[in-house]
Structure formats: structure tokens, C-alpha cells
Amino acid sequence: MTEKPVIDAAKAAAMVKPGDVVHIGGFLGCGSPDSIIAELVKLGTNKLTLVCNDTAVLDEKNNRITGVAPLIKARAFNRVIVSHIGTNPETQRQMNEGETEVTLVPQGTLAERIRAAGAGLGGILTPTGVGTEVELGKQKIVVGDRIYLLEEALPGDVALIKAKKADKAGNLVFSKTARNFNPLMAMACKLVIVEVEELVEIGSIDPDMVHCPCIFVDYIVMSKAQGGKK
């Protein structure tokens, strides 16, 4: 099995180009690639489109800033596609003042749209959102006796994801609820960079226990965040 290049977070961040659609893993900051995010903030890359579960937590009074929140603050995105912005008042402000275009997508629909992109599907039919603003502009399709919305696949240019452990081939194992959108995003993007806490030899992960097969992964970054070890 071919080894994947191990690069530093700064080099990973430099691979993200203005205009890119960037999928970033994490759920309110749990399972986010924090080292790469920090370098991307430093670099000041902007005009990105964010695909993420949420815009994480920005609570400066309590010094609580998680996940993609520093990128929101740095105005890295002119478009944001997420399910939730309630814990980041800066996203709310940018939206209200017309600086950033925010599209809210139901969380399960977001997960399926990302998965569909990775799985080569054009989209999926979901009952979620029927009868709400979410249905606006979408095709409705009846299957059996139920109405569904056609929700299209949501591919990305770059996935920045976080795993607990990788082997040198890029097989990934996630930890607990830090898994969330990470393996789906690895499937859906052209370039996939994973930040890991632990890097092990090829053959040391049980092939029945791989959460994300190596073929989805392009580059590996060692996490500088707390708990990161080589």
C-alpha cells in the first residue's frame, strides 16, 4: 500500500485557494482540524465557500472559540452552507449585513448531500423540509404516497478533516462523536487533507475497523492541538 505524504499544517493550508469550496469536519468544534484551521487563518485566504455542520462557537467573553469560528472571524468565507449558526454571533452579523451569503440546510440533508457527492449520486429524495422554506425552488417528487424534495449532491474542492488515527497509507479511525461529518467529506472532495493525532504503521489497523479507507485520503497532517502525539 502506497504511503501518503505527511505535510505540515501550513503547507496544507496553502493548498486551499481563493474560490474553493471547502468542506471542514467537526460539530460545534468537536472533531475539527484545528491545526490546519489556525494556519489558514494566518494565511488570510478568503473568498472561500464553507461546507460544515455549523459555524462553531464564538464566545469571546468566555474565551471560547472552537472549530471554524476563527475562519468566520477572519472573513475567510463569502458563502457558508451549514445547518446551524446559533452559537456564532459573527456569522449572524455577516449574514445580516450582507457580507456573507448563508445557506441553511437541514443537518440530515447536509450529510446526505455530501455523501451523495462522494458516492457519485446526483442527489437524494428526502421528506425533510417539505412544507417549510427549505422546499423553495426545489423539485418535489412523489414516491408511493409521500412527497419528497430532490436535494442535489454537494461536492467540494478541498476537505479538511480530523481523525484520531491514521496509518501511513491513510486509513482512518475516528474517535467518538468527533467522527460526525469527517468521513463523508473525505468521500466528497477532490483534495482530502486529514489532521491526525496519531500516525501508525501500515498493517496496524484491523481492516474490519477502518472508518475511512485510505483511497479517499491525499495528505496527512500531524495535529499540533492538545493531545496530538507522533
Binding site: F27, N53, R179, F181
Partner: protein, 221 residues
């Protein structure tokens, strides 16, 4: 004369009595989270958390928090023996696929058609729907948990929601701090009222059409 006093514990207590052992329940952030504290000891429900687990346990002891183990509100949690973790696609396959028996949500408004609004006040506050739209669409039974009145005294139960909907025609039960309502045929059906409130008080303080169930009874919680 009865004076209304907000009482979230009463709501949580009543909802906690609904479940049977083995049932799968998703509790929303805020008021619904309180429900977990009131489930009887001889009832073993399975809590699902949409960020990726079943078998949600209580909060960890201080110092025992795990950065990789949180609930959908980013609070540190634990997992019970027999629980499992999964990715967001599987989490919502469970939810949308009808494998969650009950979802309990907080609301901004709920109406007699079973509509629910809780994700957006246009021009004012837009937290986003998160997983709420999938949870209301997919769960077998949707329970709205809400104080009966707003701070200003107006009714949270409406004839028709005025805010953008989270769910259209999906709510089954509404549990407030004054009573237990079932939604059917475009009406709230009052099944229980909680002491010290009376049927009359409820009819007077609810801005919606209420049918008083023929078996409607007073409950002390």
C-alpha cells in the same frame, strides 16, 4: 384566581413518563434535556444524540470530560455500556428512517395543525434548524416541550404559526407546564391538566382551538 408561573421541571417530569423501556429518544437542547433527569429508574430508554451516538449517558464528573465526546449542544457527555458511535449520515439515517421513537423539542411557536417553529425569527435571530427538521420529519412521535405562556403572557400555542416552520404537520403531543395536549384533526386535544391549573384557566389562556378530551383529568406532578 390562579397565577401562572413558568415551571420547566413539571414539563420534563410529565414527558419522562411517556417512554417505555427499549424506546429510542432524542432530546433537544435546552428544556428537553431536563427530561433525562426524570425518567423512572425502572425504565431504560436509549438516548440518541444527532451528532453521532446512541446510549447517551449523564454528564461526566468534573475533570473527566473527553474533548471527543459531546452532545449536540457541545456539552461534554458520557456513553453507556452498549452504546455506539457513528457518522452524521448514519445518525440521520436513524432519525429520518423512523428508528427514533420520540423526539422532544423546544419551540418558539406550535399550532393546532401540528406545525412547529423554532429555528428562525426573520430579521432578528436565525440560529438555523440544525437537526430539528429531520428529527420532526423522521421520528415516530414528536413532542413539543414548552412553557405555556411567553414572558409577556401571550400563548405559545397558536391557531397558526406566524414564524417560518421547522415542521409542517408533524407534532403529535405538546406538553406545557399547565397540561398535556394531543394534536389531531387540526385541534389541540386537552388530555391532562396539571394542578393548580384548571380546564377553564387553560381554555382562557390558550390562543387556539382546544377540544377537552372526554377522559381529561387532573394530574399532580
Amino acid at each position: 384566581m390562579i397565577e401562572y408561573k413558568e415551571n420547566k421541571e413539571i414539563i420534563a417530569k410529565r414527558i419522562a413518563k411517556i417512554f417505555k423501556s427499549g424506546e429510542v429518544v432524542n432530546l433537544g437542547i435546552g428544556l428537553p434535556t431536563l427530561v433525562a433527569n426524570h425518567v423512572p429508574h425502572d425504565v431504560s430508554i436509549i438516548l440518541q444524540s444527532e451528532n453521532g451516538l446512541i446510549g447517551l449517558g449523564p454528564a461526566p464528573a468534573p475533570g473527566k470530560e473527553d474533548k471527543d465526546l459531546t452532545n449536540a449542544g457541545a456539552a461534554p457527555v458520557t456513553i453507556l455500556p452498549g452504546g455506539a458511535f457513528f457518522d452524521s449520515a448514519m445518525s440521520f439515517a436513524i432519525i429520518r428512517g423512523g428508528h427514533v421513537d420520540y423526539t422532544v423539542l423546544g419551540v418558539l411557536e406550535v399550532d393546532q395543525e401540528g406545525n412547529l417553529a423554532n429555528y428562525k425569527i426573520p430579521g432578528k435571530m436565525v440560529p438555523g434548524m440544525g437537526g430539528a427538521m429531520d428529527l420532526t420529519t423522521g421520528s415516530r412521535v414528536v413532542i413539543a416541550a414548552t412553557t405555556h405562556l411567553e414572558k409577556n403572557g401571550s400563548s405559545k400555542l397558536k391557531r397558526r404559526c406566524s414564524l417560518p416552520l421547522t415542521a409542517a404537520h408533524e407534532v403529535n403531543y405538546v406538553v406545557t407546564d399547565v397540561g398535556f395536549f394531543e394534536i389531531a384533526g387540526g385541534r389541540f386535544h386537552l388530555r391532562e391538566y396539571f394542578a393548580p391549573y384548571s380546564i377553564e384557566w387553560i381554555l382562557e389562556h390558550t390562543d387556539a382551538d382546544i377540544v377537552v378530551d372526554e377522559n381529561c383529568k387532573e394530574i399532580k406532578l
